[in-house]
Structures are given as C-alpha cells and as structure tokens.
Symmetry: C2
C-alpha cells in the first residue's frame, strides 16, 4: 500500500533553535526551508542518508500546530509515506474501515496529501503523499 | 553521524490490536515479534518497503512503557538511526553538548543501543543502534 517512507514530521516550538540541534549538532543536511502560510507554520526538511525529517513550527498562535504544541509539547507528529495513487490508497483505507482526516486529497508542499486519523493508527498520524512529477 | 534510519518506534497499548491495524489493514509485513522481558514489553517489527516500524506494548504495569502510555498515550516514541560505531557517536554527541540518556551503550534487540535524551532533540527521542554483525 505504501511505496516508501518519505519523512518523519516533528513539531517544534521554534525552527531556528531546532535547526541548531538537528543541522548543527546532529549533522542533518538542510534540504529546504519554507513557509506554509495557509497552515500558519514554517517547515524545514532535513536529510540523514536514507531518511528525511520535517521540522514544523507555528508562525501564529492561531495555527493548529500551535494548539498541538500547547497540548502535547514538542515531539514526533506524523510519519509520511509516499503512495503511487492517493485516491486508490484512500479508497483502500476506507474499505478497511480506517478513519481518515482527509477523505479527499489536498495540496501539500511536494504533492497531494491526505492524513489518516491518529485514532485509527494508535496515536501515530500517517500522512499519505502522492508526489508531483517534478518532486520525484 | 547517522548511517541510516533503522526504524520508528511506536508505543501501543496492546500488540495484537495494533497488529490488526498495521499488518492487516495497512499492509505492513510482520518481520519479527519478540518479548523483551528485561524491559517488560513485547515488540513487533513491521516493514513497508524502505522502512520499518517497531510497535511496543507493555507486558506489565511496572514497565517504563506502561508509565509512558499513562502519561502520553499511544503514539510515536522514538526514531532509531543506525551508526557505525556507537562509542564514537556518543562521544561526538557529548562533545556537541547533546544530553544523553545512556552515556554508554547497552544491549538492544539487534545490537548495542543508546538513547539520546528527548529534551536534547525537541521531544523526539533518538535511539542509536550499532547492529550486531549477524543482523546486518
């Protein structure tokens, strides 16, 4: 069902401070730093060999990420798997009775995405990503 | 510093129920199910193409995992990276001022392991793994 692990998303309070840890101390390579205004967050993708992490920090107290931080604190937030055809995967999951946050895909940073409800996956939120051709 | 992502560890309340989700509904392949008596947990390693997850459930209310569950609920618990030489990595991290749970390696399921303190990595606990030769 899942083609490959794309990244692990980690919510942090402040992106610059978190980059000091992950890039400067732990040696991850910064791939990309972007603002996602529609979600009121900024994010950084960092790589360590075969794997990528995404650090996500709120840019406004009204963002969902700010509420998440307040409730749960900093830490792992989601695991993103690439899929070949996001509509097919969503249909398969629905057929399996897996509760979804997004019944239909929406735009993400690197393609179309949809989130599986953490209640359906024992607290670990799964993001599905169908990458845009130019991000493959 | 990190050779490759080895697995993502997810704490769950009950291993059988979680396997119904991850193996039966999400299509992960069960690699190995084991009891770890010294930690009072049982664990299952599951694979989806390029990535592995470890589901961890307490077998006794006295386990650290049971206390974690009570406090934080089910969800992502740690991210495990393979390293070539765990002593060298621990020394590098200490030199960087990164707070460690384990100053010296201990036995894990697949080799020698050590945990970085989640306070040092913005709430995301990192496990270092130097694999035993026969697990490579």
């Amino acid at each position: 069902m899942f083609t490959r692990l794309d990244h692990i998303g980690i919510v942090v309070a402040d992106l610059d401070t978190a980059l000091q840890t992950y890039r400067d101390r732990l040696g991850f390579t910064l791939l990309e730093r972007i603002e996602i205004p529609e979600q009121l967050v900024e994010a950084a993708f960092l790589e360590a060999n075969n794997s990528t992490i995404e650090l996500i920090a709120p840019t406004d107290t009204a963002s969902g990420t700010a509420r998440y931080l307040e409730k749960r604190g900093e830490g792992p937030h989601h695991v993103c798997y690439e899929v070949d055809d996001i509509e097919v995967t969503l249909a398969e999951l629905a057929q399996q009775g897996v509760q979804l946050i997004d019944e239909t895909p929406r735009r993400g940073v690197h393609g179309r995405v949809a989130f599986v409800h953490p209640k359906a996956t024992h607290g670990s939120m799964i993001e599905l990503l169908e990458k845009d051709a130019h991000h493959k």
